[in-house]
Amino acid sequence: MKPVITIAKRELTGYFASPVAFVFIVIFLMLSGFFSFMVAGFFERGQASLEAFFAWHPWLYLFLVPAVGMRMWSEERRLGTLELLLTMPVTPWQAILGKFLAAWAVVGLALGLTFPMWLTVNYLGNPDNGVILAGYLGSLLMGGAYLSITAMTSAMTRNQVVAFIVSVVLSLFLILAGYPPVTNMLVHWASPALVDAIASFSVMTHFESIQKGVLDSRDILYFLSVMVFSLFTTGVIVRTHRAG
């Protein structure tokens, strides 16, 4: 466990030594504010809830999370530090976990800094804080799922741009599989069971149900299994083409 913490610490200093973390946090805060107030009509709704705020997270994360994670492995590969890291007395999974946790912490920090939203709804009305907490948890889990996909694509290439684009496409697929306009279209020529099966692969389906305040173990399990699968694949990739 100690090497995981050592690596995570180094990664975090790396994020804050370069502008990556700051840019991410500032843009995330600006965009999430813009979407919830201007687009989703936070005030016009007249509801004391953060639904308008959370609804945009799958789309915000789609571009912002890959931007945070794209350097995770491709940079190591490009600089040659991968060779240094993997000849240290650490196992590949310790390195994978350390890097992932550090990037997730950056996402979590950005999410945490939206607390004025929470203060605002509590000042204006009496929201169900349990639902809001569930929303934050769901958002964090979704960010982790996107991030693990980015880790996987980042391990495949030494080019950050390629890692970014591929992970955006993969994440987009995970969104669209359960996005109502897409599922409505699928219903016309696929059996409802198949549409449901495809939709159950989507982050949308699971995020929405958590966001409503329903902490179903299946939803949590979904996000965790996306992370475990992606990070496991990352491990396989890192191990098999180390020299490249």
Partner: protein
């Protein structure tokens, strides 16, 4: 300490290393020579556990690098080719990070970092970020990382690459000093380095070991080895050469300089070069030559290196095109 048995690595159809075996004990400094693309770095990467071998095994201090990677890696300090390091960290931050990964903490960590900084002359740049450093400093930073935990095994891929002559000298001195207590493998293109530092050298070409011995033994394989050079204050080379040719132990002579005469005499196969040197000195006395120089060639490593690897580098160059 390091035991390499029949190590092989293939990348698809391309054979990078085909069956390399050797041993390095404590107190030995093994020089790893070979043309570019001969498989030096690949071999080192397999020994350090960065890439898994296709076949064969590397055992570090009793631990197989494939079966017990963590235990084996603990014993190794490794300087990869091109000396990579995290560009966004300071030198101190980077060294503390590697020390921590090596399991050092608190006072032990600080001491280890101080020692490595002192040995690699990094005091002046301790708080600078790595990306602002010159190549020499960057290289030494990575070198410092490799010795931070005072490892028993040190594997250095071109440790003097990109250093200025003074730094090269420092690093060589350092390697030689550490070589008294550690098992060291280092690769290089610079042959004088091998003579200055190594207790043994291996020449590797196209994935196989083509020569293995002490620098002196390798030099003896040179064509020049054992030849006697005679240089006179005056006189013509032709006359001297014909006199030398007449000696029974001389196979042939080569004129190095017409006038004043300088001639190199090569002994016959069965003649010891010391005997020939004695015969030539007798001849010089008899002929009353005013000798300026009479010495036995030790042979030259670069010539041995070229003879062993040249035909191969040419053909492999064509293949890669």
């Amino acid at each position: 300490m390091i035991q390499v048995q029949n190590l092989k690595k293939t990348f698809g159809p391309k054979v990078a290393v085909s069956g390399v075996s050797f041993k390095v004990e404590k107190g030995e400094v093994l020089g790893f020579l070979g043309p570019n693309g001969a498989g030096k770095s690949t071999t080192m990467r397999m020994i350090t556990g960065f890439i898994p071998p296709t076949a064969g095994e590397a055992i570090i201090g009793g631990f197989n690098i494939v079966d017990n990677p963590i235990e084996a890696k603990r014993l190794i300090g490794y300087l990869p080719e091109n000396a990579p390091s995290y560009a966004d960290m300071t030198v101190l931050g980077f060294l503390s990070f590697t020390a921590e990964l090596r399991g050092l903490s608190g006072v032990a960590q600080r001491k280890a970092v101080d020692r490595a900084v002192e040995m690699c002359f990094l005091e002046n740049v301790l708080h600078q970020s790595v990306e602002t450093l010159s190549k020499g400093y960057r290289h030494r930073t990575c070198f410092a990382q490799s010795i931070i935990h005072d490892p028993e095994v040190l594997i250095l891929d071109e440790p003097t690459d990109g250093l200025d002559p003074n730094q090269k000298h420092e690093v060589r001195t350092l390697i030689r000093r550490m070589g008294e207590k550690k098992a060291i493998i280092f690769s290089t293109h610079i042959l004088e380095e091998v003579e200055a530092v190594c207790s043994r050298a291996i020449i590797i070409d196209r994935g196989t070991i083509v020569a293995n011995g002490t620098p002196a033994e390798l030099k003896r394989r040179s064509n020049q080895a054992g030849a006697i050079t005679v240089r006179l204050a005056s006189g013509s080379a032709k006359a001297v050469a014909s006199k030398l040719d007449a000696l029974s132990g001389v196979d042939h002579t080569v004129v190095l300089n017409e006038s004043p005469a300088a001639v190199r005499a090569f002994p016959r196969k069965q003649t010891a070069s010391d005997d020939l040197a004695r015969a030539i000195s007798d001849l010089a006395g008899k002929e009353q030559w005013s000798l300026l120089e009479l010495h036995t060639e030790e042979g030259r490593l670069d010539e041995v290196f070229r003879n062993i690897t040249l035909p191969d580098t040419k053909s492999s160059g064509k293949e890669s095109k």
